[in-house]
Each structure stands twice: as structure tokens, then as C-alpha cells.
Amino acid sequence: MAKEDQWLDEEAGPVVRPYALTRGRTRPTGEVLDLIALVTAVRGVEVDRAGLDPEHLALLRMCRLPTSVADLAADLDLPLGVIQILLADLRARSLIAVHHPAPPAQLLDPRILKEVADGLRRL
């Protein structure tokens, strides 16, 4: 990492460098994940590190338990767009599973929204 960093000076700007990680890609292949989609590393698979960057591996470590896309972006301190691309790479290799959030209509279960309101009252 340190050696590579020397190739970039401040003039490269804060925008360019993160996308070096994605080899210039600015859009993920496939769908863009919701900020509250939960990502979980698939267990029991051998990870072939060839072609994976340290950031891919860091993501895999961070989502051993289901973790939201927003939390991953905050934890790894990389722009959301970069996280989306790295996650798409991991999905393409079947290394992560994604749990999409339920649309609000499905939250109508009165039990859930009552539980939310009650939970907030306990704050």
C-alpha cells in the first residue's frame, strides 16, 4: 500500500484515488445495493485471493455478521460508490450474500411498528 501511495500526490485530488481501487470503474456491475441492505460473508468457502484487493478482504472480514452497506462504507471509510463496486465484485464471486430491506408496505405488520415505537420509548 505505502509504495503505491507514493505515486499519488495531493494534486490527484480526493476523488481520483479511491477509484484506483476499482481500476477506474465508477459503476458497479449489476444492481446498486440499498444503504440498509445487509451483507453477510458466505461461510465455509475458500477465498481465492487472486484478483482481490486488501479492501475486498477487509469487507469480507467486516461482514462476518450481517452488516449494512452504510456501516461498511463508514467502517472502511471509502466512498459509497467504491463500496458498491467492491461489493459487486464479491457478489460476482459468490463470497457474500445480500439481504434486501423489506419495502415499507411489508412493515405494516402492526406488531413490528408497535415494537419500534415501544423500543423508541425505552430510549
Binding site: 495531493e10 494534486e11 490527484a12 485530488g13 480526493p14 476523488v15 481520483v16 479511491p18 446498486v32 440499498d34 444503504l35 440498509i36 441492505a37 445487509l38 467486516m62 462476518r64 455478521l65 450481517p66 452488516t67 449494512s68 452504510a70 456501516d71 461498511l72 462504507a73 463508514a74 467502517d75 471509510d77 471509502l78 466512498p79 459509497l80 460508490g81 439481504h99 430491506p101 423489506a102 419495502p103 415499507p104 408496505a105 412493515l107 405494516l108 402492526p110 413490528i112 411498528l113 415494537e115 419500534v116 415505537a117 423500543g119 423508541l120 420509548r121 430510549l123
Partner: protein, 204 residues
């Protein structure tokens, strides 16, 4: 509070985790970050957004030819109700030039809080318009800043031309209990809205 993004959701093996998205909107300086911070630890994520319009000239472009994007920081926070039930609060970027980000943000949101500052009430008009047009349930929270004249909720409702069912709550965004009450008002409003939508759907 543990906030490392790695708390277990997996208490019940068969139970699907539920994540709920709530947006905190309002004009620049209306207290969005304060409100999120009153109920949970604030986290920040970065997004990169295309530069367009007048914003281009605001950003420092020294040394970067044709810089086409800019970094926008976004605050969020997480409230764990229990295992497998977590609320995420996202502060929407306040500046007008980043509103195009809202569409993606608003998708799938259960509801929104629009923070209003009575000294600059017009600042929250665009947020109100946005959520009305997209039929995202929202509550208006009037942040009672010190030194600002107090208005009754009904006066604010009238000034904002809100539907009678939109909750208008006076709050102090710094106070946990006050911020919490705003969220509860929104959840209960969202539940009523969803029930109405469902009833309308079955009658149609």
C-alpha cells in the same frame, strides 16, 4: 454503545432481519445532525456526486482539471430496537445542489422527519415538497432554537400548508427525549398512512 457494525442480528435462526430507513431532512443548519446525535452515535459515510450547476464554482478545483465529482459527507445513525430489528436514520444533505441524491436515499424509506427552523421556515419548503410528491410519510419537527420566537404547531402547519394529518411537533433536537418523541410521532403517522394505503388498495 457498541457500534462497530458487527452486532449479531441472528437471534432467531429463521427470522429475517428487518432494517428500517428514516430520513432526517430540513434546511442547512436546521439541526439534522444534532437530532441524529441525540438518539444515537453519529457515523459518517462519503458519497461522490457529479458536480453540476453553481456548485462547480464553490468547490476548490485547484490542480484538478475537469474534476467532475465532489465528495459529500452524509451522517447516519443506527438504533437497535432488538436483534433483527434496526432503525437507520440518514441525514439528507442540506444543500440544494445535492438534492438529486435524495431519490436514491428516499427509495424504500418508511418515513422522514423534516426539521424546521422558524427563523428560516422557507428552508424546509423543498423538503416538504419532496416528500409530499413522492408520498413518503413525514412529520415536521419545529426545532425550538434559543432566542427564536415560539410558534404554535398550528401556526407552523398553516404556514407550511400541510395536510391536517401530518404531525407537527415542537422539539429540542439536542434532547434525547425530545428527538425520540419526534421519531415516535413519525412512526405512528407512517403506520396510519400505510394502513390507509392498504385499505385504499383493497377497495380499488
Amino acid at each position: 454503545m457498541a457500534f462497530g457494525g458487527s452486532e449479531a442480528y441472528g437471534r432467531g435462526p429463521g427470522e429475517a432481519p428487518v432494517t428500517i430507513k428514516i430520513l432526517i431532512a430540513g434546511g442547512f443548519g436546521a439541526g439534522k445532525t444534532t437530532l441524529v446525535g441525540a438518539v444515537t452515535e453519529i457515523r459518517a459515510l462519503r458519497t461522490e456526486e457529479p458536480l453540476s450547476g453553481p456548485g462547480v464554482y464553490v468547490d476548490n478545483l485547484d490542480g484538478v482539471a475537469q474534476k467532475a465529482t465532489t465528495t459529500v459527507a452524509m451522517d447516519f445513525g443506527r438504533i437497535t430496537i432488538r436483534d433483527n430489528l434496526v432503525i437507520y436514520l440518514f441525514g439528507t444533505p442540506g444543500q440544494e445542489r445535492f438534492w438529486f441524491m435524495w431519490d436514491e436515499l428516499a427509495s424504500g424509506a418508511l418515513g422522514a422527519v423534516v426539521l424546521a427552523d422558524t427563523r428560516r421556515l422557507a428552508d424546509c419548503f423543498p423538503s416538504v415538497d419532496f416528500f409530499e410528491r413522492r408520498r413518503v410519510p413525514f412529520a415536521v419537527a419545529v426545532n425550538c432554537f434559543e432566542g427564536a420566537r415560539r410558534y404554535r404547531p398550528e401556526a407552523v402547519r398553516s404556514a407550511l400548508d400541510l395536510d391536517s394529518d401530518v404531525p407537527v411537533v415542537l422539539c429540542d433536537a439536542r434532547q434525547r427525549s425530545s428527538a425520540r418523541d419526534v421519531l415516535i410521532a413519525l412512526i405512528e403517522h407512517a403506520r396510519r398512512e400505510l394502513q390507509q394505503a392498504r385499505a385504499a388498495g383493497t377497495n380499488a
